[in-house]
Structure formats: C-alpha cells, structure tokens
Symmetry: C2
Subunit: 205 residues, 2 copies
Amino acid sequence: MLTDDNPLPDGIPEELRRQLEFVIEVDQMKSVIRQTSIATGERRENDAEHSWHLTLMALVFASRAKEPVDLVRVLSMLVVHDLVEIYAGDTPLHIVDDQQEARERDAADQLFPLLPGAQGQQLREAWEEFEAHETPEARFARSLDRMQPLLLEWMNRGVHWLEQGRTSSAARERLKVIDDGSPDLWTAALALIEEAESRGYLLDE
Amino acid sequence: MLTDDNPLPDGIPEELRRQLEFVIEVDQMKSVIRQTSIATGERRENDAEHSWHLTLMALVFASRAKEPVDLVRVLSMLVVHDLVEIYAGDTPLHIVDDQQEARERDAADQLFPLLPGAQGQQLREAWEEFEAHETPEARFARSLDRMQPLLLEWMNRGVHWLEQGRTSSAARERLKVIDDGSPDLWTAALALIEEAESRGYLLDE
C-alpha cells in the first residue's frame, strides 16, 4: 500500500520501519468485505470490524469458555485470524473449495515475513493455532467466530440465509463446533436457530 | 438496537442474554465515523476498525513499550476505549470541549450497566484506566491511539491536516504523549512529522 512516491521517511531504524510498513499493509483488512451485514443491515461488515467484534466478545464471554483459556492468546488469535484474507479474499463457509487452504498458506507466506523474523513467525503461529483448533484457546476463538455472524444474521432477520436457501438443520450442522469451545454459547445458538426457523429466517426441512 | 418485534428468543438464561444484547448493542461502533481516512483514502474509518487496528499494533509493538506491560490489559483497554462514543460521538482532539468528559461519563453510565454487574464494572474500569493514563499499560495504549491516525494521515498525504490548517509544531505538541508510552514510536512520529512538513502535508510555522 505504501508507494514509491510516498515511502516512510529515512531515519526510522530498519526493524521499526518494517513493523510500521506491516501496520500500514494490514489496513487493507478494512476493505475485505464479508458475507454478513452489520446489525443495522445498512451494509456488509469488513474483516477489521469483525475482528474487533470478536475481541470484544472474548472479553465478555471469557468465563464461558469450555476449558480455562489464556486470554492473551485468545485475543492475539482473534486479532490476526483473518489477516491472510487481505491476499486470499474472504471465503464464505458455504463455498470453501479445496484450493482455499493452499491460497491462505500462500497468503501467509507473503504477509507474515513482512515483519522482522521472529515476530512474523510468532504471528503466523497464532494464525496456525487458530486454524488447527486443537487448543482450548483456538476452540473458544472459533466459537466466537461462528457465534458473531449468527447474531448479526439474527439482527438481519436471516436475509443472507434466505438468499442462500439455508435450512435450520444445515445451520445447526455448520455451527455445532460452537459447542466445542463454549457449551453456553451453543445453548444460545440453538435457541436462536430454533426461533429463526419458526420466524422464517431459516428454511425448515 | 434490538427491537421489540425481534428480541432474542426466550430460553436463553438471563445473564447470558444480557451479554448477548450488549454484544449486539456495541455493533454500533461500526457506524461511529472518525476524522481519519483509511489508508486508501476511499472513506473515513470507524471506531470498530480503528480499535482493531490498535490491537494489532499492540501485538506488533509490545516490546517497544516504555515500561514492561501486561498485554492482556493493554488489549482489553484498546478493545473498549472508544465504546462510549456509541452514545457520546467521536470528539476529534482539536475540538474537545469542556462538556466532553461529562458526555462520555454519561455514556459510560448508560452503556456498561447493560452487562451483568461485576462484568460491566470490570469493562468500565478498563475504560477509566485508559482515560486516566496513569499506568504503563494505559500510556502505551494511548501512544498507539495517537500513532495510528498519524500513519493514516501520512498515507493520505495530510489531507485532513491541511483542511484544518495544522502546523508541524501543533502536530508535535499534540502527539508528544506518544513518548510517554513508547520512545521508539515517538522517534518514528518525529521523523514522520518532519518529513510531512517538508512534503507540505503539514504547514510550517
């Protein structure tokens, strides 16, 4: 995003300069548009807004994680989990293809080395931890990542669900991993899905 | 933002319901428009995007804090620091008036009690800690909060500075608190301000 005719000024030490350039590069998160609309329905949300919303949810729901979690790791994962979409684009859950993993790995190879060595590796590991969902922190983070669009879709009365012809049983199937990170949130998700079906925000079978 | 004809469904326990309602309420952060434009210059950024960008900066610059910081406190403060603007609006630094503090306190009185007791108080305390800038964490968080718009304004070649007739010495004065939280970032800020003046992004005296 920095251009040759407007580079950061000389006199900033190399390592600091690379960090600042990274911070500017990832500003592009604000232009990666997601499938879900903001609660007012006025427009779709972007990855930066979504990521912030998840960190706020982590603070609110931390004590509802299935297992005790290290909050700084949860927050770090949520802050970086969508960065690769700057280069790989947002791939909605319902159209994930078999190239997506490779696309996102290529994006990570391009993005994280912009940072000075060890730090780039550290942020990459947070992203990989999130993707692998093998730790309590990653599973909790994933629960938030699935719960948030459900809440927004509720606020939007299922507008995108209906566009996609989504059924309530498909929604339950897709969202059941919420239970792995937070049984409490899964209880709420089930109540929302059931009521969404009876209100016609989701199709019944 | 929840309306009487589309409330959260029954069957969600009271405390969890209040947390979910809070999460939906603060979605309005995505519609609080700031003075600064995103790096591409296409549009102004909003508070949700700004807050996310600061948490990313906290991860990148943590080791550059003036004093050792507890990262989870820094991140928590950054996530909540602008929530009161949902009700109080964004008050740009150059037009802060003497009612602003009262307006933001009223907003906090309205917002944080939406959460169940102790939790609302906890998030309020994070906001108050940020506002008081008396702890190393709060001073570092404030440094990030001042550094981020400087980077964006650099990317926008001073468009809003010039609109406001900002001089380089006024910019230095306004931003010097960056030094209290991160001398390294202050070094970079000074280089940016100096170069901004010579490029005509800031007025000289």
